[in-house]
């Protein structure tokens, strides 16, 4: 890393001498993986990656260049200069060093976990699932590793960061003529605090609940969204709160700042400073300090989230949400860890209150709707019918439809007290929306 760090420093020096401002990102990482497919240990693998990226401003325009070939960093400045001629106008300055809050995202123990451990654990899960249902197939995957990065810019910022990551998922599959059931559960964290057995038991429970097939008549019903599927509904709101969408005129919320747009019980906060959460970090990908940001407060739109460029376009400051998928990309606003406030009732009492409705575990086609206006219609890849407060079986060939903005304004029937992490960066309660259109074949 030391050698690479001086490579980054030299690159920055050269870039500064040939442009108005510059930024260098160096990142390297390694992850390992163990996969069981069709109930069999299939593959153990490893990925090593390295990348150096340069972003500079020349004649007021942005130029970027990146490579993963460390022998060929010599022409990066020339390349970035060449594309800057056509690049977008830079409306921002690279941030200087500011105070930032440390957050725990690196545990050196993760990298030290052996392949054997996950080979054995995976085999135990496969064996356990076989006892539970010998006709089902199970897929288990573990991915773990760490990444290091250095961010340097011409405003004097020099920050190094390290993060570890552990990803686990288990899926069960039951195939019968005319009926394929796929049920999965997964968790991601920066350290090994994943409850593998919890995930396994969840998959089993969903299998049992899906055993009976029941019908539901087309109509309007209360629909229970799990933390995962409520996230699918909220994705329209996240798009509308994205500062880039706001400045481009594509957001339904663009003129709604400080207005009460949603139900008073809806509060959404982005918090990138939570220890061990995968969306956390002390700075964003552009070197701006990460802060907690209230997006929706008791139904009122409080903030949009911005990166440097979209913030400059909007005439505000970056909120520390600059995300760059790769060093070659210019980046755009993205969320860290999103937290949805819980309600007052228990999940059990919420279910108990439903005379006839649907519980949605998984959608098919969640990403297919118009991302802007909030109209959705989605196939239930796994959904259950609720009758008199109890889950009675699986419904198939059923779609639900509605508008996310309208339902979150006038259609929240209940929010559970209990909240669950989905993946490693989204915390949500169970939410009942009503009336949701249910279309059944």
């Amino acid at each position: 890393m030391k050698k690479d760090y001086s490579l980054a420093q030299n690159l920055l020096k050269e870039a500064i001498s040939r442009s108005e401002a510059a930024e260098v990102v160096f990142s390297s990482g390694q992850t390992r993986g163990v996969s069981f497919e069709h109930s069999k240990l299939k593959i153990v693998g490893a990925k090593y990656s390295v990348q150096v990226g340069l972003r500079l401003i020349k004649n007021g325009r942005i130029g970027v260049a990146a490579t993963n070939n460390l022998d060929r960093t010599g022409d990066l400045v020339s390349k970035a200069l060449a594309v800057s001629e056509f690049g977008p106008a830079a409306l921002f300055e690279f941030p200087a060093l500011t105070k930032y809050q440390e957050v725990k995202v690196f545990d050196p123990a993760v990298e030290k976990i052996s392949e054997e451990k996950f080979v054995n654990l995976g085999q135990r899960i496969v064996d356990d699932f076989y006892k539970f249902n010998p006709n089902a197939l199970v897929y288990v995957s573990f991915g773990w590793g760490e990444g290091r990065s250095a961010l340097l810019n011409s405003s004097g910022l020099e920050v190094e960061d390290m993060a570890s990551n552990l990803d686990f998922s288990v899926w069960g599959e039951l195939v019968e003529e005319g009926d394929i059931l796929w049920v999965g559960e997964g968790k991601t964290s920066c350290r090994e605090d994943i409850d593998y057995d919890f995930c396994l038991e969840r998959v089993k429970r969903k299998f049992l609940q899906a055993k009976e097939r029941v019908e539901i008549k087309t109509g309007y019903y209360p629909v229970v969204f799990t933390p995962r599927t409520f996230g699918d509904i909220l994705s329209y709101i996240f798009t509308a709160l994205n500062g880039k969408m706001v400045v481009k005129g594509s957001s339904r919320l663009q003129n709604k700042l400080n207005q009460e747009v949603f139900d008073k019980r809806l509060t959404i906060v982005d918090d990138g400073l939570l220890n061990w959460k995968t969306g956390s970090g002390k700075i964003d990908d552009e070197g701006v300090a990460v802060k907690k940001l209230i997006l929706i407060e008791k139904g009122i739109v409080r903030n949009f989230y911005y990166d440097l460029q979209s913030a400059a376009q909007a005439g505000v400051k970056s909120t520390g949400h600059g995300v760059r998928g790769s060093a070659a990309a210019l980046g755009s606003p993205g969320l860290h860890n999103v937290l949805i406030s819980g309600g007052k009732q228990t999940y059990a009492s919420i279910l108990g209150d439903i005379n006839e409705g649907i519980l949605v575990e998984d959608f098919l086609g969640a990403g297919l709707n118009n991302p802007f206006n909030g109209d959705f219609s989605m196939n239930l890849s796994l959904g259950y019918k609720i009758e008199k407060g109890k889950v009675v079986g699986r419904v198939k060939d059923t779609m639900i439809a509605g508008n996310a903005f309208e339902l979150l304004a006038h259609g929240i029937r209940a929010i559970s007290k209990e909240r669950e992490w989905v993946g490693g960066s989204f915390l949500s309660p169970y939410v009942v929306l009503e009336p949701v259109s249910v279309v059944s074949k």
Binding site: Y48, G63, N68
Partner: protein, 455 residues
């Protein structure tokens, strides 16, 4: 380079049943306009490699950037495979080959200046905004890439292949009174930059569609007779059926193997579905797959009967079927999976007008906005759709979603058109996190009792 790879393999090959190395160098250009201005322009370059080892049926796989450390990585993949292997390695036999495939360009994008490419995209971008004041967002994206892939295996295969691709596309959002509607188009070619200049011809039509959709009524949910245009039908056959014919989802799944048994009737006599990586100039074509196997044309459905599937060497070996050369990887970061190439429904005999003639109330679904499948179930959104009333195309309708069970739907195909078109926009497919080039197509296809979700 090739000799370097095979020398490294030779040192380790006795410790495993099979060993292969791929190395790749690539470079390209990317341009993106978004909203009202240029968003990014880049010329990325990349280099890296991967090792895959097989021992007693278990795989090890390591990818990396630093080719100088090849020996270490082979060592690591070998020990991974030895940790996994507990059974028997069964790869379908193929003859080792030595070959070099060089790219021959009709119009090499590397010889076109960055300025010309940027100006062309800016021009398209301006054209989109000029069509209507209701345009609220637009993006125009260009990319070209050139790569050279080296492959060597412990069986003596040594191949160098060059690949190139040029794509240009746009999407547009039109907005009125809080309602937003989108549309998109893309063009692509392997070797001819000139294809980029053909994109402009679609701008006015697609932007107008997005604008007209703002005034369209939401479609009413229900069962309809649906006519799919060639792009939509091609996507249907790729997404809903094609993935089930990729043997890696079937070969170790007894139940699915039973469902996908060869000889099973899936549709009417005239239904023929093909995957053909050898199609001349095909966007999804290639000379060797990522296991160094020469590919072949495979009939997946012949006259309505399930008649074949796509294989890697492992799935073919384990199922006792012939390898088809469909193992593909999206670059050196990934191990090969069984993938489609150019997948299409062969032409039938029915003319478009005849197809519409006796439909009292139906839907004409055009192009493809998105889709998802869950093996047997699918949900697709066309780019746009019209009602069919009394045998005639009628008004545009919005927010159409087609959903159903693939086997039922194949059985419900009642007419196949005479107008095969091969073009799957945007020409990419994702599986296991790997996006790579494919094409799909079909003639117009008519399906009875299709479920449409809308209002």
């Amino acid at each position: 380079m090739l000799n370097q790879l095979s020398d490294a393999i030779n040192k380790y090959k006795k410790r495993v049943d099979y060993l292969e190395v791929r190395a790749e160098e690539s470079e390209g250009t990317g341009i993106k306009f978004r909203g009202k201005e240029m968003e990014s322009v880049s010329q990325p370059s990349s280099r890296g490699g991967c090792v895959r080892a097989l021992y007693k049926g278990g795989w090890g796989f390591v990818s990396f950037n630093d080719l100088d450390k090849l020996a270490d990585k082979i060592e690591e993949a070998v020990s991974q495979a030895r940790l996994v292997g507990r059974g028997k390695s069964r790869l379908a036999q193929v003859e080792p080959v030595e070959d070099e495939i060089r790219m021959i360009f009709r119009n090499d994008p590397r010889k076109i200046s960055l300025k010309e490419k940027v100006d062309q995209m800016r021009d398209y971008h301006d054209q989109i905004w000029a069509v209507s004041p209701l345009v609220s967002d637009a993006s125009v994206v260009y990319s070209d890439s050139f790569s050279r892939v080296y492959f060597a295996s412990s069986e003596g295969t040594k191949i160098v292949q060059e690949f190139s691709g040029i794509t240009a596309g746009f999407s547009v959002v039109a907005r009125k009174n809080g309602l937003l509607q989108s549309n998109a188009a893309a063009v692509f070619d392997k070797s001819d930059y000139s294809v980029v200049r053909t994109l402009g011809a679609r701008i006015t039509q697609r932007v107008k569609l997005a604008v007209d959709l703002l005034e369209a009524e939401q479609v009413k949910s229900g069962q309809y007779t649906v006519v799919l245009n060639p792009v939509m039908a091609g996507n249907f056959i790729h997404e809903a059926f094609g993935h089930l014919s990729e043997a890696d989802s079937v070969y170790e799944n007894k139940k699915l193997r039973q469902i996908m048994r060869l000889g099973r009737r899936l549709g009417a006599d005239g239904l023929n579905v093909v995957d053909d990586p050898t199609l001349e100039d095909g966007w999804g074509s290639y000379n060797y797959d990522d296991e160094g196997v020469r590919p072949q044309k495979t009939y997946l459905i012949r006259e309505g009967i399930l008649s074949g599937r796509m294989h890697s060497r492992e799935t073919a070996g384990k199922m006792g079927e012939a390898p088809t050369g469909n193992a593909r990887a999206a670059g050196f970061r990934f191990r090969p999976l069984v993938r489609m190439s150019n997948t299409f429904i062969e032409a039938g005999k029915v003319g478009f007008d005849e197809m519409l003639k006796d439909i009292k109330l139906g839907i004409y679904a055009c192009n493809f906005w998105g889709g998802q499948t869950n093996q047997e179930m699918f949900t697709f959104t066309p780019g746009w759709a019209y009602m069919i009333r009394n045998g005639q195309l009628a008004e545009l309708v919005r927010d159409v979603k087609l959903t159903g069970n693939v086997f039922e739907t194949l059985g419900n195909i009642e007419m196949i058109g005479d107008d095969l078109g091969l073009r799957m926009e945007p020409g990419k497919c994702g599986k296991g996190g790997q996006y790579l080039r494919v094409d799909a197509g079909a003639p117009h296809v008519r399906i009875k009792n299709a479920t449409v979700a809308g209002k």
